[in-house]
């Protein structure tokens, strides 16, 4: 067990190294730089700035310097936002995005899994049709449409929730709902199909032959078996939702991390691009690791590598 976890961590670090290197190369391959503006700066000023941020060093040196700083936990200064470091940007944005994300993920799990189970249990009857209809709508309607509808209903029409901004808990509700729409629908479909597969298994028939109550069969015999694909999806989904959504955070004017993914690339804000990519990848790799650990708990047949 211990040996395989160490092995996993080493391979996770390798993945991170590849991601950082590829991002670094791609980023510098885009034409322009952080200080390219429509109105060109005087050459001397440009030289000065580039010297200050060490952008005139050869790329391998910049790469080596970046790693040296990264290993000390320093993601560097932002080029666009003066006197702010990437560490600060993440430290400010991530808690906001993570809070929103946590609510959205909780909603989608608490709604999606029972909805999928209901669909499977009442296959081809009205609860199933209702769940599948809503799930299809949930998957096809983009989050910005859902967000707009929610704002229209609850903020403009019923006037019970704030339309935008961030602050007290009621500000979380609408963006969390908008953010949860797609994953909820996806989880419901995933749960339904994997539940249907599980309910057709021989061991469910055995449980029925033992006279076990239908709810117990569903809860004890079927759910754990049916959750594997859902958990697989949940890992990367949590990483993506916790780091914020550009669309939702723009619509609701939420000071999260999401917008930096897009704006930093426009700005050629090299350190921010790299910083949040590193952050997101680390989170993603970590979540996948947690998913693998969850497998071990869900399915006793799965054993960590290195054991028989």
């Amino acid at each position: 067990m211990f040996k395989s976890i160490v092995g996993r961590i080493l391979s996770m670090l390798l993945v991170l190294w590849v991601i950082i290197t590829v991002t670094f190369v791609l980023m510098h391959a885009i034409p322009g730089g952080p200080f390219t503006a429509e109105k060109a700066l005087p050459e001397a000023v440009m030289k000065n700035i580039e010297a200050r941020y060490r952008l005139n060093d050869p790329l391998p040196k910049q790469y080596a310097d970046y790693w040296a700083n990264l290993l000390r936990g320093d993601l560097g200064p932002s080029f666009k936002y003066e006197s702010r470091s990437v560490n600060e940007i993440i430290a400010e944005g991530f808690p906001v995005s993570a809070e929103l994300g946590l609510v959205a993920v909780t909603l989608s799990v608490l709604i999606g899994i029972p909805a999928g189970m209901a669909g499977a249990l009442y296959q081809n009857r009205w609860p199933d049709h209702l769940v599948m209809l809503l799930a299809t709508v949930g998957i096809s309607v983009p989050s910005f449409i859902l967000a707009t509808l929610l704002i229209f209903c609850f903020a403009l029409w019923l006037r019970i929730l704030p339309a935008a901004m961030w602050g007290s808990p009621e500000y979380v509700i609408l963006p969390a709902l908008a953010l949860a729409g797609m994953p909820t629908a996806f989880i419901a479909r995933l749960t339904r199909s994997s539940m249907l597969e599980v309910l057709a298994q021989d061991y469910i028939r055995t449980a029925r032959a033992k006279g076990i109550a239908p709810f117990t069969i569903l809860w004890r015999h079927a759910l754990k078996n049916a959750l594997l694909p859902v958990v697989t999806y949940l890992g990367p989904m949590i990483a993506a939702i916790f780091t914020g959504s550009f669309v939702i955070e723009s619509i609701f004017a939420i000071p999260g991390l999401g917008r930096h993914f897009v704006t930093s690339i426009y700005n050629r804000d090299y350190t921010v691009i790299l910083g949040i990519t590193v952050f997101y990848s680390a989170l993603l790799v970590l979540m996948n690791f947690l998913v693998d650990l969850a497998y071990l708990w869900l399915d006793p047949r799965i054993k960590p590598e290195g054991e028989d």
């Binding site: 061991y203 055995t206 033992k210």
Partner: protein, 338 residues
């Protein structure tokens, strides 16, 4: 014959599929005496498993539907019970073991969890009492280190071991009727013999009525007292086991017996029953075995009833009609000679 433990009358089961309605059971009648071992034989799809499932109340519905029939057990018609009442009998007074022990146990639950469930469900025992009983059950079916096994998962056990666990599970509440649906088909030969011995011993010791569903006539010969031969959703012959093997009355039974390899026919070609069983989406109006029967005659265009004959024997063939011009036994015996 003792008073019947189970009496099944005119059982019809249909399955609605996209292709149409499959008439899986088309009038099944039989009865079982307490403590006997009865074999149900027939080729795949003839309705053996459906019969047992219908009596157990575990036909998946939809698509399955019990169209008509009665199954009297302990003064009650099993087919008229509510789901809740039926559930109280299942795993309790009636139980069933299945063909493939590899897939019939839940892979993510321990043997203990699965084995103690019937006690908790039907006898309201506490988990610790149930654990004790489960360990005793494992000993009964020949698994020694019960306490360890209870903590293990199915994948940590061999196939034979898992089938023993299945049997233990079905015996938990001391059922009066046990259906064993091809209990040895998925096991290798030496393990098969052990499992059959186990079933025989349990029948003797616990007086459990055993219905053995199989297509292995060797198993039937070694274990059963009485045999029901099924074909196309009906029972075509019912006989004590030695009578069936000595002088089958129905041409299908004869065909089955002739298709078993025998040491004294070494070097000769094995006889097979030509053709296929009828499509139960549109069952033929006459005798269902007609197209494959070597003794077919004009009368067979009309479906024969199940004739009651001597010595607990029944046969669904016009040759066994009391006014039949042929002596059926003679006819089949001649047909049996190669």
């Amino acid at each position: 014959m003792q008073p019947a433990l189970l009496t099944v009358n005119n059982l019809h089961v249909h399955f609605r599929t996209y292709a149409g309605t499959v008439q899986a059971l088309r009038g099944v009648d039989f009865s079982l005496a307490a403590g006997e071992i009865v074999g149900i034989v027939g080729e795949s799809g003839c309705g053996k498993t459906v019969t047992a499932s219908a009596i157990m109340g575990i036909i998946p519905s939809p698509p399955g539907q019990i169209v008509s029939g009665e199954a009297w057990f302990a003064g009650r018609d099993l087919l008229k019970l509510s789901e809740k009442e039926s559930r109280r009998l299942r795993g309790n007074k009636l139980s069933m073991i299945f063909q493939d022990p590899m897939t019939s146990l839940n892979p993510v639950l321990t043997i203990g969890t699965q084995l103690t469930e019937p006690f908790i469900e039907h006898q309201s025992l506490s988990q610790s009492e149930a654990n004790e009983r489960a360990a005793e059950l494992l000993k009964l079916v020949g698994i020694a280190d019960g306490a360890t096994r209870l903590k293990q998962y199915p994948h940590q056990l061999s196939g034979g071991m898992r089938q023993r666990v299945m049997i233990a599970m079905s015996l938990a509440c001391n059922p009066s009727l046990l259906f064993a649906d091809e209990p040895t088909t998925a096991l290798d030969v030496t393990v098969q013999a052990q499992i059959l011995d186990l079933l025989k011993r349990l029948n003797r010791e616990l007086n459990t009525t055993l219905v053995l569903i199989t297509h292995d006539l060797g198993v039937v010969a070694s274990l059963c007292q009485r045999v029901l031969v099924m074909y196309a959703g009906q029972i075509v012959e019912s006989a004590p086991v030695h009578n069936l093997f000595a002088e089958p009355l129905h041409p299908y039974s004869l065909g089955l017996l002739q298709s078993v390899p025998r040491p004294d026919f070494q070097g000769k070609r094995l006889l097979a029953i030509d053709g296929h069983p009828p499509d139960l989406l549109i069952p033929p109006s006459g005798c269902t075995f007609l197209p494959r029967c070597r003794f077919a005659m004009q009368a067979c265009l009309e479906a024969p009833p199940l004739f009651d004959l001597a010595e607990n024997r029944q046969s669904r063939c016009w040759l066994n009609h009391p006014d039949s011009p042929h002596d059926a036994r003679v006819a089949l015996a001649i047909g049996g000679v190669r």
